[in-house]
């Protein structure tokens, strides 16, 4: 009998390069959002943005098994999903800067960023707005006979929208290949999930749709990867949807205008101590997939990519002011 493999799921399942790439993308998400925050502070970006710093494991581990043909639907807090799915940070910055080279040609901004070519159907400014859209994407795959799955990201707050209920029910009755990934960061804006949601775990609601539901430590890369892996396998096998709840936390405020009146410094610090990137990196090093020098190189690469992305965005042209109605309809 072979010796039992006691490594965490992700480490025994994915090739070392794939794991290192995952770490790289997690660093990229972190540095990208810090960079965006910095640009915002310096007045280079207008509007608002919702940072996912602290939630990188949830985004990245949920995308480990997705190809460009697989789809995701994302949220207002979508930079992490976008990068995890394979987007280019230069074009993302360009979008934040409102440039024609941005993913949305400067029309969408942070809340609508999408990269349809890598299967990212877009962030969404409407809480819960992506849920039925994800089910529709899964319906397309099933009807067109494709093996693609759709991963639908949404927050704890979104789970109280009617759209959640309608979408999950339809996905279930039609056994569609979709994985609902709830990123429960404990708050919908300022409102605690424990106040707004009648059940302790959002995955408790999976039973109302006769689908499997599981709650995992969303800052544990491997735990998320494992839960989503099973859900994706189920989806690809035609067994229908699943609900995976990743318990996590955003370090920053809800948006740039958050005055943080609803949570304590202690709570924030407690969660910062559970940094999902540091944890994943430590795991990789502990299991010999990476050494410290390699980790440092990956981290440095992320810094460089972000810096280059900002430069690309700055150097890019703005949309022509006369083209305000361009892209409303097919050309």
């Amino acid at each position: 009998m072979a010796k039992a493999d006691n490594r965490p799921f992700a480490l025994r399942t994915y090739a070392p390069e794939k794991l290192r790439e995952a770490l790289r993308r997690m660093y990229l998400i972190r540095r990208f959002e810090e960079g965006a925050e910095d640009c915002y502070m310096r007045g280079l970006i207008h509007g608002t943005m919702h940072l996912s710093i602290g939630q990188e494991a949830s985004a990245m581990a949920s995308c480990m098994e997705l190809t460009d043909a697989d789809k995701i639907t994302s949220t207002h807090r979508g930079h992490g999903h976008c990068i995890a799915k394979g987007a280019n940070v230069g074009r993302m910055f360009a979008e934040f800067f409102g440039k024609e080279t941005g993913y949305c040609h400067g029309r969408g901004g942070s809340m609508h960023i999408a990269d349809v070519k890598t299967g990212n159907l877009g962030a969404n400014g409407i809480v819960g707005g992506g849920l039925p859209i994800a089910v529709g994407a899964a319906l397309s795959a099933k009807r067109l006979g494709k093996p693609d799955v759709t991963v639908c990201f949404f927050g704890d707050g979104a789970n109280n929208e009617g759209a959640f209920h309608e979408a999950l029910n339809m996905a279930a009755i039609w056994k569609l290949p979709v994985v609902f990934v709830c990123e429960n960061n404990r708050y919908g804006m300022s409102t605690p999930a424990s106040y707004a949601t009648a059940v302790p775990n959002i995955s408790d609601r999976a039973a109302a749709y006769a689908m499997p539901g599981i709650t995992v430590d969303g800052n544990d890369f491997s735990a998320v990867a494992e839960a989503v892996h099973h859900a994706i396998r189920r989806a690809r096998n035609g067994e229908g949807p699943s609900l995976v709840e990743n318990l996590t936390y955003r370090w920053r405020g809800h948006s740039k205008s958050d005055r943080n009146r609803y949570r304590t410094k202690e709570e924030i610090e407690e969660w910062m101590a559970r940094d999902p990137i540091a944890r994943f990196q430590a795991d990789l090093i502990a299991h010999g997939i990476l050494d410290q020098a390699g980790a440092d190189a990956i981290a440095a690469e992320a810094v460089a990519a972000v810096a280059a992305g900002v430069e690309f965005a700055k150097a890019s042209p703005a949309p022509d002011i006369s083209e305000v109605t361009r892209y409303v309809h097919a050309e």
């Binding site: 789809k71 639907t73 941005g102 993913y103 949305c104 040609h105 400067g106 029309r107 969408g108 609508h112 999408a114 349809v116 159907l121 877009g122 969404n124 400014g125 409407i126 707005g129 849920l131 039925p132 859209i133 994800a134 089910v135 529709g136 994407a137 899964a138 319906l139 397309s140 795959a141 009807r143 067109l144 009617g162 759209a163 209920h165 309608e166 979408a167 029910n169 339809m170 009755i173 039609w174 109605t325 361009r326 892209y327 409303v328 309809h329 097919a330 050309e331």
Partner: protein
Amino acid sequence: MNAINPETALRTMSYAEAIREAMALAMEADPAVVLMGEDIGVYGGAFQVTLDLIERFGPDRVMDTPISELGGAGVAVGAALTGLKPIYEFQFSDFAMLAMEQIVNQAAKLRYMLGGEAAVPVVFRLPSGSGTGAAAQHSQSIEAWFGHVPGLKVLQPSTPEDAKGMLLAALADPDPVMIFEHKLLYKTRGHVPAGRYLTPIGKALVRRTGTDLTIVAGSIMVHRALEAAETLVAEGISAEVIDLRSIRPIDHATILASVRKTGRLMVVYEGVKAFGVGAEISALVAESDAFDYLDAPILRLGAADAPVPYNPDLERAAVPQVDTIAAGARRLFRREV
């Protein structure tokens, strides 16, 4: 549909049958076309428009949805974004209010928000209007709202021929299209050409030429306006009747040309008068050079400022009828508006 010889010049069928024929043609030609909606399967739809299609195309392409309009419309949007061409039937246009989010925030805006990198070729069908005794929540005419929404196309066929041609045109369009179908028209009959043809989106049609007065009307009001126009002949009033087949985009040119000719304009529609289709048409003329040709104020005939009442006499009184349209025209000549 089966026994009709496509060579026959005058194929007559009902408005509902014409829509069904368009759907069947499209589904035969393109496996990406799917129908979604409540009770559109064995029941055949609340107005029997999809009757028997589930037998022909199966439940995978004629999908009964749960009573979940927001979700159902959203699934259609997501499907359209990823390769299908869904036709989603709202059982009554009133229920589109549950799905405004997906129609307006998502379908209409996705192409733009994504900088042209995505398309949402979805068609929404919306049985609309009063006259069935179904009262306030099942009788509304809310098409004007969607005229206010960039990214949408909004149609309202008045004949079986157009009902078919517009649905086929909507399916050929790469962007979201809403088609308002008047419930009282479903059983009306008319000539419908065989095969596939497209009624151009955004074009109004002069249904009756006249010299003294332009009446712009849409959907069922076209028929009432035509009838009123006939009664006006005896009084020496020659009315031109324009079928406003498309609310978005609007065919300015046809309307303005007619007003320049007649010098008088009346707009007839079933929606509530205020902020309705009449306001937009009136304003288009009032801001154009046709303004200089006007010999009388612009008259709008829309619904009373009330929800649609249940009592049949009240219901009839609430919206323009042939006699009120004729009376409106007369007022324009006496200049008492």
